[in-house]
Amino acid sequence: MSKTQRIALVIGLVLYAVLPQFLKSYGVYLMTLLCVYLMAAFGLNLIVGYAGQMSIGQAAFYGIGAYVAAILMTKMGISFWFALPIAAIACFVVGLALGFPALRVQHHYLAFATLGFNVLVFLVMRNEEDLTGGTFGISNIPRPSIFGYSLDGALPFFYFAFVSVILLAAVLWWLLRSPWGRAFAALRDNPIRAESTGVNITAYTLLAFAIGAACAGIGGVYLAALVNFIEPGQFSLSVSLLMLLAVIVGGSGRFFGPVLGSIVVVLLPEWLRFLQDWYLAIFGFAVIVLMVYLPGGLLSLGDRFKSGGGTR
C-alpha cells in the first residue's frame, strides 16, 4: 500500500467514524448494516477474488451465523461473546464441507452447487419451525455489553461493529499478505501449475471456503444483534447475489473492493430513494453501466487512469 493510499484510508476511517454523530437513527443503522455486510463481503472476496472459486451461497453462512447465535442467545441464554465464536466455528466447519464440491466442479457448475446449498439452508430456516421459528423468525435477540457497558444504543453498537470490521479486515489483510495469500492467488490463476509447484490445492480450496464462510457467519451474528430479529428472507438467494455483486462491482480480488461494492449495494439504493418508484430501476441501470465500463470493478478505475485506456 502506497503512502497516498494509507492517508486516504485513514481519512476514510475517520470520516466514517465521525459521520454517524450527525445522522438520525436510520442513517446510523445503515452505516452499521454496511459494517456487518462488509464482514460477509470480505469473506466472499477471499473465496471468489483471491482463491478464484465461485460462490452464490454466502448468504447461507450469513444466515447460519445469525441463527446459531440467535438460538444460543434467546433459547439457551448463552452470552453474545460465546455465541460469536461458536457461530464462526460452525460456519467454518460447514464452509469446509461446502468446499468439497469445489474440488470436483468449477465455474458455473460450482455456482449452481453453492446456489443449491443456499436454497437448502433457506428451506431449513423456513421449515424447521421448532428450531428456527419458521417464517416468524426469532425475535428479542439481545445486543451485547462490554465490561458492563451496554451496546443497546444505535451509536454504541455502530462503533462496536465498526471496530469489529476493522479487526476482521486486519486479520484478513495479514492472512492475504502471508504466503497463504500468494498460494490462494496461485490457485486462482492456474490450479494446474499451482499443484505442480507444491501448492496443496485441496487444502487451500477448502480453507478459502471455510474462512470465507466464518467471516459471513461473524457478520450474521452482528446482523442478528443489530436488528434484534431474524427471519429466512434475510438470507435468501437474492442476498447472496447482492453480496457477489458487491464483490464484483467493487473489484474482485482487490482487498478494498468489497468496501466500495458494499457501499453501492447497501447505500446507493437508499440514496436513490428520492426517485421513489424508479429507484430500483435506476439502481439496476447504474449497475449495468458500471459492469460495462468497469468490468474490473470500481477499484480498477485507478489502473484505467494509469494506462489511459478504454474499456476492456
Partner: protein, 247 residues
C-alpha cells in the same frame, strides 16, 4: 550409473490409439536427456504420464528407486520433480517475483507455519537471484500476464527451477521464444544443471538447441522409441530422417 529416473514399458492408450506404446528410458543423476519426434509422436503424453497429469494405461515409473507411477503432481513436486509446460502456465495476475516465490514457498516449513512466516517465506533472495539470471529485472514487479510470450516462457522455466528440483521435465522450452534468446536459454539450462546438479529431460523441436544441450537423445515416433544415443548418431539415423522428412 544407477538410474535416477527409470521409465519402464510406459503405455497410454486412447481407445484404439496408442499415444505412448511401451516406452522405456532411464536418466542418470545430473544427466540431460533430449526427447525429439514429429508432432503427435507421444512426447507430451509421455511427460504427462510420468508426471501424474494423466493416468498411464500400463508401465511403471521409478524415481530414486521409488515407484512413483500414478502419483499426483503435488506428491511428485514434494519428491523434487519439477516441470515446465508446452503452453504457458504462469500465475498471470501475480508479479514475476511473486510467481517465482510462489513456486518455492510451499517447500518451506509446514502449511500452518507458513501462515506466520515472512511474506516472502524466505524465498525472496533466491527469487531475486533467478530474476537476475533470467534477466527479468526490468519486469520483476509487473504482472506476469502483461508480459510477452517469450518473457512468460522464461518465467515458466525459472519457476520450475526455483525449488532446486532433482529432476526437471521441460516441454518445448524454446517454443515461441525469440531465436536470439534460444542460445541464452541453453546457456541458462547448462548453468542450472551445473549449479543445482539436477537431471533434465527436454522435449524440443529445435534440433540445434537439443543437439548442443543434450549428450543423450531419444527419438519417438508413433508412441515408440525409434532411436536413441548421442545426438550425432540420432541425427544421422536413416529412420529418424524418414520420420521427420518422409520417404
Amino acid at each position: 550409473m544407477t538410474p535416477f529416473l527409470e521409465v519402464k514399458e510406459m503405455r497410454k492408450s486412447y481407445g484404439a490409439i496408442n499415444a505412448v506404446d511401451g516406452v522405456t528410458l532411464s536418466v542418470g543423476p545430473g544427466e540431460i536427456v533430449g526427447v525429439i519426434g514429429p508432432n503427435g509422436s507421444g512426447k507430451t503424453t509421455l511427460f504427462n504420464s510420468i508426471l501424474g497429469q494423466i493416468k498411464p494405461t500400463g508401465g511403471a515409473v521409478e524415481f530414486c528407486g521409488e515407484d512413483i507411477t500414478g502419483m499426483s503432481p503435488l506428491e511428485l513436486s514434494r519428491r523434487g520433480v519439477g516441470r515446465t509446460f508446452q503452453t504457458l502456465q504462469v500465475f498471470v495476475k501475480l508479479s514475476v517475483r511473486d510467481n517465482l516465490i510462489a513456486s518455492a514457498q510451499e517447500f518451506k516449513g509446514t502449511m500452518p507455519g507458513r501462515l506466520f512466516a515472512k511474506p516472502d517465506a524466505g524465498c525472496g533472495h533466491h527469487a531475486d537471484q533467478m530474476i537476475d539470471m533470467f534477466r527479468l529485472q526490468h519486469v520483476a514487479h509487473l504482472p506476469a500476464g502483461n508480459l510477452s510470450y517469450g518473457q512468460q516462457k522464461l518465467i515458466d522455466i525459472a519457476m520450475a527451477f526455483m525449488p532446486a528440483p532433482r529432476l526437471v521435465l521441460l516441454d518445448e522450452p524454446c517454443a515461441g521464444v525469440n531465436p536470439s534468446l534460444v542460445d541464452q536459454l541453453r546457456e541458462l539450462l547448462l548453468l542450472l544443471n551445473k549449479s543445482q546438479g539436477g537431471s533434465f529431460v527436454v522435449i524440443e523441436h529445435n534440433m540445434d538447441f537439443i543437439m548442443k544441450l543434450c549428450p543423450h537423445v531419444i527419438c519417438m515416433v508413433e508412441g515408440k522409441v525409434l532411436a536413441e544415443g548421442p545426438p550425432s548418431e540420432v541425427q544421422a539415423n536413416r529412420q529418424v530422417l524418414e520420420a521427420y522428412l518422409g520417404n
